[in-house]
Chain length 222, copies 4
């Protein structure tokens, strides 16, 4: 079990990516986006009306369409950048090096990353909910999802797992199975606490540590 580690090192190399790149929005446009996030998250994209968004944003309905050609473009403009920002740290080239250089144990590293992403997710919970809801129905989001996950994040994680397998620290099971196991256990933690049981009290640090412990135990070479 890792000692309490400062999260900063991770944030150092993510910071320029994590920081919001939503530049130069007018104040009304910002209000539109915020209202859209609220309404989409509450009712789902298809059941949300632009008139309700406009009302909640305190602008005229026509103003929405001055900034976004269609309702769908408004959705995409919200969800699409979130997807890349959410996964950005896992795409970095230095990922593996940082992992070995800056952290005493794999668990430490995973914990740092998990906390960082958890904080990010908590901050953008509604957008992530919208993203999960709409990916099945929006081909454009599917495309972005596949590009990000399929060809970048997946590859990076695969490298890391095989690195540890080569070192004899990870059980000899197929890499895809290991990857799926680890990621769904972590994502499951996230979804359970943020989406399935949003009200339940929890000690985030403890929960993350337990989950990582279980994952590590599961994957450890016997």
């Amino acid at each position: 079990m890792p000692q309490q580690e400062p999260v900063e090192p991770v944030d150092q190399w993510i910071q320029e990516i994590v920081k919001m790149s939503d530049e130069k929005m007018t104040e009304k446009q910002l209000r539109i986006v915020q209202a859209a996030v609220e309404v989409f998250a509450e009712k789902g994209y298809a059941s949300s009306s632009t008139s309700e968004i406009a009302q909640k944003a305190g602008v005229a309905e026509g103003t929405i369409f001055r900034h976004y050609k269609t309702k769908k473009e408004l959705l995409i403009s919200i969800v699409s950048p979130m997807m890349s920002k959410l996964l950005a740290p896992f795409v970095l080239n230095e990922f593996k090096e940082v992992l070995e250089t800056d952290y005493p144990t794999l668990e430490d590293f995973l914990y740092a990353v998990a906390v960082n992403r958890m904080n990010f997710a908590r901050k953008h919970l509604k957008i992530i909910k919208i993203m999960l809801q709409e990916i099945p129905f929006q081909p454009m989001l599917q495309k972005e999802f596949k590009q990000h996950i399929g060809t970048r994040v997946f590859k990076r994680f695969t490298e890391i797992i095989e690195h540890f397998k080569a070192k004899g620290e990870v059980v000899d099971l197929p890499t895809p199975a290991l990857l799926r196991f680890a990621s769904t256990a972590m994502i499951g933690l996230f979804i359970t606490h943020f989406l399935v049981m949003p009200g339940a009290p929890w000690d985030e640090e403890q929960e993350i540590r337990h989950t990582i412990t279980l994952i590590m135990n599961g994957m450890a070479a016997k």
Copy 2:
């Protein structure tokens, strides 16, 4: 690792529940339900139109409303029974006894249950997809979900995990964490293969075994 086991024993005690309780539907009504499942799964509930459902079912639009007062009632009538059927085996009182009586190892038992539920899910994939999509937006479904999971399935699983903890076979971590870990790893397997990567080829038996192995390793008392 368990030997190849016949799945039948599990089915024996689920059979009366798993068996369809779709009673006395007219042929047209059946066609409506089938069409609705197709369309809801493809476009999502809110983006589906009753006219498209009617057309695909080969009935007049009015006919739908003769059987279901509203579009939402049609949705509920499809999703609601599926939820209980999907979780039914985990609610049975004899669950724990069967587990200890009929199966040599815990892994054997989990494998049998997993295969059984996987087959069930494959058969009703579209409805499950609709269910997952609509639970966040349909209070009635949320209520049923909470009743089933929160007060019945959760309780049953908690009992079982604590049973094994008491026997010293499971690591001493909080039961909710263990439960979440095990279930999300299994559900993650399901969602990955059925929903995220529906086309990918896979050896179901192997995948289930690997996942259970990882879960068991993770939870095993060290």
Copy 3:
């Protein structure tokens, strides 16, 4: 100058074409079409609103879209059949034979045809006005116009003019110039009295005769 001739012979061979082929319309659909003709003719297609059409037709706005998928489809459904009906008599194969068989002089024949088409046009004046207004902006109507005029009516008229040229009765100028001259002089008569000066009193029979006389004089071999 021809004696007063009965118009019937011409009508005999056009009758089955001239007769309306608008079959099996519901009463509401008929009211929609009538209202649309009124409004389109008065304001022009682009400046007409479906809500005004619905109101004038005494139906709900949605009812229009039950019968016509779009506003443009409503326009096309009105104008397109009119174009072929208007030109139908000029396309008939027996045109030239009838001309030589049933009428003592070319003038008689032209007079009969002119009266027949004038009556038809008067009856459908508004639709013809819409047609003329919208052809420049509706590619589908342009296509139909080219097919009808370019490849059928033009060809028929060319044959007839060359027939009389061969008989030495028509001046030796290029056939297209003769055709254009004769047709625009006739169409000019129509447009002047029906569209440019709709209120002016006139003796239709006299006007037609004068115009034909002038056309014949103009084209006569000197």
Copy 4:
């Protein structure tokens, strides 16, 4: 048939009218007018948007409304002066005198005028198209049209025709019929070649001569 005549004489007495009276327009205003002509001609007035005009003109939308109070005023400002310029030569008081003084034959005169107006029309084709399209729907244009045609051009042409009738050179038919015949045959030539078949190759000089020949033949006292 007249010899090739210089067109200048006609232009001499039209020149001060034909010359553009577009005074003191800013460069932006000019660009707005040009863009409006393009867009109105292509899509029709009602289907054109001020935003498209502004974009094509390279100005802000608001700039249009600084120069023209409404969209309709922009239309009128374009079409209205064109109408008078197009018909100006036919309104001149000296018309008849010029006719008898400067040209050996009536045909010569008509040819000269036709060529002159044809050139003018070719130069302002789009505006004329807009004019023809919008007269039916714009009361203000109708008013101007009636004033120009009804009380001035019509009167002038009537005088000329009756002048030649008195001289025994024109057939004894009602003057309005003669006038309509001649004008629609000429206008028909114009519309056919410029609007109905804009792409077709043609020898303008020949076509005008043929048409005038046919008109003269038609109207000649027998």
